[in-house]
Structure formats: C-alpha cells, structure tokens
C-alpha cells in the first residue's frame, strides 16, 4: 500500500536505528502549531510535546517519523510507523481502515477563511474557488457538498493552501479553526473568518493499526492521566492559547 506522490518518511533523519521495542509515531511536520519542523530543523509542536509526554507515562520508547499527509494512513497500515499523531480527526470513514485512541484535542469547528474584503454569500455558495488540504475531513466535506457548483483546489500541505489564499488564488479556504486562528491573527487584518462554523470531526486522536490493542490500551491510559492532572490542558494552552480545553 504505497502512494506514488510524496509518500513515506521524509527522512527527516530524526533518529537512527529503531530498536524493536521503539514505538514509531508518524506525523506530518507541516501543520503548525500542531506539528512542524522548526528553524533548528527538528520536529516540534503541540503533538510532539504531547507524544513525548504520553510515551513517558506509558513507559514506552518513542521516536517520530515525518510522513507526507496524503499517504499517512496507507503508510501506517504498511507498517512504516505504529501510530499517527498528526492532528487527525476521528471520523467514521477513517475508522473503517484504522483504529483511534480516545481524543486528545476536543472536537473543533472547521471554519472558512477569506480575504478581508471578500463578500461571499454562504447560504448559496456557487462559482467560487474553494481551497482545502487533500485527504482531510474538509476535502471530503467540500467534495460531497460543494464540488458541483464550485471549483475545488486541493493542496498537498496546509501551508500551500494558505499561500494560495493569501495570494488570492482561492476565494475561501476551509480548514481547522485551530489551524487558521493564529494565521488570521497574524495577518493583521488581511484575512478574516466568515460563514458558518462546520462541525465535522469527533475530536483528534492517535491513529493506530487495527488490532493493535495493546498499544491502544497503553496510550488511552496515558491520555486519561494527562487529561486528569491538567497536563493536557497546559499543553493546549501553551500551543493554542484560546483552547478549547477539557476542564472548564
């Protein structure tokens, strides 16, 4: 199960020889602040911190592997790594091919971002260019509901879709609110949210191969722990400021 285009480990040369007990965590490395490659060339972000914390609690040795988003599920099944921790929403469709742990980030609305001057009739979307990252819940949603009357452009990485939005090549971009939030804030008025919030996923969890129950149990227990003692909320606060949080 391989995909042609940009699959497999980006060989970020993260760490060398993996011992037999090491659990390999697959992430994308291009979805700030969830997971990204920082200026020093290392993987960083909310999920890197969280992954390391979970592994510590579950007393397992972990290493991260970067993998292109659009082949991240096939390569999990193929065994290139043992778990996906890449801002992946839990959906019924994905559950057909992989298992999920419980969520470690609450269900978060998908939102439309657009240029500040744009005036778009969201009740009656037609004839506009909609951007999404390929193989995401947003892509499936747009494909199913909006593709007939609009032009859909799908991008390999979220960064590319943002670049095209900023450059005005797409009218709206549908993506996770938590991903768009800091971008819109940083755009100093050039971009804005608009239209309805759309609830698509059931929170974000780690993806696992079907039947990998042992690992699933360990990770679920670790997530329970970090939820209970507030570590998870602290991490969310560190990377997302506004939340959403598990405790009120």
């Amino acid at each position: 199960m391989k995909k042609i285009i940009l699959a497999a480990a980006i060989a970020v040369a993260l760490s060398s020889a993996a011992s037999a007990q090491t659990v390999r965590l697959g992430t994308e490395g291009a979805y700030a602040p969830w997971n990204f490659i920082d200026d020093s060339g290392k993987l960083a972000g909310f999920e890197i911190d969280l992954g390391n914390e979970l592994c510590k609690r579950a007393a397992i040795e972990c290493e991260f592997v970067a993998n292109e988003w659009d082949s991240i599920i096939p390569n999990l099944i193929a065994g290139n790594y043992d778990a996906i921790i890449a801002g992946m929403s839990i959906t019924e469709e994905r559950k057909e091919s992989i298992d999920f742990t419980q969520d470690y980030y609450p269900s978060d609305a998908s939102r439309y971002a657009m240029a500040a001057g744009a005036n778009i009739d969201f009740d009656n979307l037609s004839g506009i260019k909609i951007g999404v990252q390929g193989a995401t819940i947003h892509a499936s949603y747009v494909e199913a509901n909006l593709a007939a009357n609009n032009t859909v452009l799908s991008y390999e990485t979220a960064d590319q879709s943002v670049a095209d939005l900023v450059a005005g090549n797409i009218d709206v971009l549908l993506a996770d609110g938590s991903f768009l939030d800091p971008i819109i804030e940083a755009s100093s008025g050039a971009l804005k949210f608009g239209g309805p919030d759309i609830l698509l996923g059931g929170g974000v969890g780690l993806g696992l191969r079907k039947g990998d129950d042992d690992l699933e149990a360990k990770l679920n227990a670790a997530i329970d722990e970090v939820k209970a003692d507030g570590t998870l909320d602290a991490l969310i606060a560190k990377w997302f400021e506004k939340g959403p949080f598990y405790s009120n």
Binding site: I4, T151, V152, L153, S154, D164, G168, N169
Partner: protein
Amino acid sequence: MSWFDAIINDIIILAKPSLFNIYFALASIPIGFLFAIGLTLMKASKSKIISGIASAYIYAFRGSPLFIQLFMFYSIMLSLNLSVWKPMGIDHIVLHPLFLGPMILILNTSAYSAQILYGAYQNVPKGELEAARSFGMGRVRQFLSVIWPNMIRLAWPAYTNEVVFLFHATALIYFTLPVINEQKDLMNKAGELFEKDYNVFLHFSVAALYYLAISFVIFLAFGLFYKYLMRHEAAAKIKKFKFSPKYIR
C-alpha cells in the same frame, strides 16, 4: 474481468486524460516555434547585447529542469497575483493550469528549439548566401528566400525530436500545478487508478501506450512534412525518417 477487458477498460478511461496532454502540446508548439524564431534571430544579431540576452535565455532554460521551472513560475505568478493580475482582472486566467502550463512549456521549448534553429542557421551554405547577395537581395529578402528555406530543412529532424520531447514533458505539469476538479492528464489519472488497485503494470503500461502512440503519430506527421520540404531532392537522397532519430534534446 479478463486482462484483455482490463486493458480495453483502461484505454477508455485514459482517453479523456490524454486530451489534456495533447492540448498542452498543441497550445505550446506553434507559439513556442514562433518565439524560437525570434530568439534565433536575436542570437544571430550583430548587436552583442541582443545576442547576449538571447544566448543567456537559451542557456538558462536548457540548463535547468522543466520540473523546477514549473514550480518556480507558478510561485512567481502567484506572488504577483494581488499586485498585478487581480487589478487587471485576469487572475482567473493567468493562474489556471490550462493557461500557465502551456505558458511555461513555451518558455522552455522556445529555448530548445532556438538552439536547434540556430545550429541550422550556422550551417546554411555560404555559397547560396553569397549568390543571394550578389543578386542584390535585401536582408529581408535574403532571409526569406535563402536562409529560412535552408534553415528549416536542416533543423526539421531535430525539431521533430524536440516536439516529441515536449509532448513527453507535458506529463510534468500536473505534478507541479494544482489540479482543478476532474482536469487530469494521463500520468495523473494513471496514478489515481494505481492507488485504487495497486496494479502498476496495467495502468502505467496503458498510459505508456498512449504516449508511444501519440509520439509515433508526431513522427509520422512531421516525417510527411519533411518529405514535402525535401521534395526537390532525389528520393534516394532523403534520409529515411526513423521513429528514433539520433538527435537528442
């Protein structure tokens, strides 16, 4: 489904995608050829500046991969969108792969074609030029009735090869520019089919078949035209046009 049905099925599915490759080639070949003539004349110019510009252009586009050129021009055009294309109201056209793809191909192929034409230009028999001059022909007249007919005959076999290469190069466009809705070319569609059933042999072979067949048609058509160009020569003297000429890009 027998393997035979599977092949027929793939041939049908890939028919429409092949039109995109043909479109890209058809849209860029004529304009690229005209550009190439312009570049050749510039390169042959007596002015050092003009010939230097043409030489540098040809060198740069022949010396770098089309794959990089596609990425680079897409991002350049994108970064000009807000300041240039939007105000002019042509952003929907300019950034569309069906426009931008051929445009970059034109930039690329005009450099390769100009190199071929320039080589032919240098090999135009000097005697014929001298004869034309002694006839008192003007420069334009010299070009039209002596230089050009010689040039095109000399360049045609290599140019044929360039056109086939250009057709092959259309396979790169949708690896680099965004795919819009169902507008997919041969490689794109073959890759999509592959991801469904992992039958790399079937889908890639049928795509290869399309490329081979169309390349063959190009050779045939250009070969016929070559025969026409060389109609003044004795039939035996015309080098046979082979499917695999030795010239390479």
